[in-house]
């Protein structure tokens, strides 16, 4: 394994991905289909992560602040 340079390490990782998912064996049009599907899924995952995690992180942070400050009856009302 070549750790001398990051680009070749990334290339090696990409080769591993190709071998594991059998995309090494696919014809070019199948590869295009497979990669675009994967990238679409990855994009969707990242977007969902961004939206949900941001939402929950900010609400948890505000809840924490409310404990340090005055207690509220309804914790959910923190997010407006």
């Amino acid at each position: 394994m070549d750790v001398r340079s990051t680009p070749s390490y990334l290339y090696w990782l990409f080769c591993q991905f190709e071998l594991i998912t059998c995309s090494y064996l696919m014809e070019p049009w199948e590869k295009v289909l497979f990669y675009s599907f994967n990238l679409a899924m990855l994009g969707l995952l990242l977007y969902t992560t961004y939206v949900c995690v941001a939402f929950h992180a900010s609400s948890a942070f505000q809840l924490l602040c409310s404990f340090l400050g005055a207690p509220r009856e309804n914790a959910l009302s923190v997010v407006k």
Binding site: R4, Q16, L19, I20, T21, C22, Y24, L25, E27, F34
Partner: protein
Amino acid sequence: MGNNNWPDHQAQRVVVNGSHLACRLEGFHVCGGGEGIKVWIRAAGHMEPIRAQLGKTLSVLLGIWCQPAFKHEDETETIHSNELYERQKNGVSNGTLYKKTFIEHFEQAPMYVAVFTFVGFAVGTIFGYLRDFMRAWGLEKRNIAAEREQQKDFVPLYQDFENFYTRNLYLRIRDNWNRPICSVPGPQFDLMERVTDDYNWTFRFTGRTIKNVINMGSYNYLGFAETDVNALKTVTIELEKYGTGVCSTRQEMGTLDKHVELEKLVATFLGVEDAMVFGMGFATNSMNIPALVGKVFLQRADEGYGIITSNMEGSIVRLPEIVSLKNKYKAYLYLDEAHSIGAVGATGRGVVEYFGMSPDDVDVLMGTFTKSFGAAGGYIAGKKGLVDFLRTHSHSAVYATSMCPPVAEQIIRAMKCLMGLDGTTQGLQRVRQLEKNTRYFRRKLHEMGFIIYGNDDSPVVPLLLYMPGKIGAFARRMLEKNIGVVVVGFPATPITESRARFCVSAAHTREMLDTVLNALDELGDFLHLKYSRYSKSSHPELYEESRLELED
């Protein structure tokens, strides 16, 4: 049932459930039951009774698959740990079943490997369905076998899993099999260069040959597949005397004096009363088992039908235990030594000699001449009564053409060489060389960190690849490095355990083995095949400049 008459066995390091040294097989005790045979295995501190079906008992005793079905809490027994340590320290004692240590490895890969393997198969299957759909709806040209229009309403011929697998997964890497060779399959051979324009549907030959590819796939264990004129002198003489064809069966006019000479020699070699030879190795089994076996339940001693030294696993059968089982239950033992005759044992006489047992323990000894003797055909040997029965009742003797004389002479000369009857020690040297090569190759592969299956003395070395994508990549890249290997996947092996199978030969020199080991090392790093979790040694003599990171 639960008595404690343990036979006094040496502690054997075995593998249970895939983990090396997970338990020490102290001994076994078999008691018959109503629905099956209970096998008690005393292992490293506690006894685990394993209920096994009649057919699977023998495979359990092989120590390869041990799936504990349940534990009896009230019958556990602990062994003092220092007692185990002492026994191991003192080595092999007398009066036990095994005369030397028997070490086999069947290490399990880390869990993520199995997960990735399934991911690979899942993606392959999805794309398989996609391609089948496209072919069915005419979006893609159909190259495959399909039923005719008029047969569309009949029972489908090509829809089962095997055909699906062949069409969609095997076809993608088909170029790694059926490679035509154009020289003798010695330690090096020549391949015909073959390319495909349409992703392995069809091949065409470019006309060039790839020369001097190191041969790690042929069953040329003792190196008798050779073209040296001096070695083949007697074969040439017999070829000129008899020609090539026999044109008859054994029972008609196909029994030649060469066959009689060969059969006597085989019987002397194996130490039995009589032997019979047949023209084809596989046909020896397929023609004679029906003659010997009636309508009874045929027990399989291994996953492979009748194969004792396993072709794909590289393991050696535990003959002493099987013989004691056979004696206890008054069964007959048919030992198929296709791969082990010539390759295993101190003088090449097979597993019977390897374990120091007498050939009288085995009822039917079968073997082939295709592997270690560089010829073709097979033999069945044993008591004279058995062989006389076969001469009259074997299907091969009635219908199949007998062995041709030059091939018989090749076997005779190889066997005489092995026995030392030609006046030289060349035969013994070959056996020793094979042993040395096997041990060296296996040891180096273990050190490098690959998962290797099988017995330390077996010249068949399976290197586990696991993932279907790596099968094709491995074989192609090894060919680019001028090394020819055989890779195997499903259905010849379990679906998650695809492997590359190396066959070490006595004709391989140390330089050839080192070339192969270097190539394997590089490829193992590139394809990430070094799954073994045992310590690897840094071996400076194999590396030049490519392992700089070790010195950091």
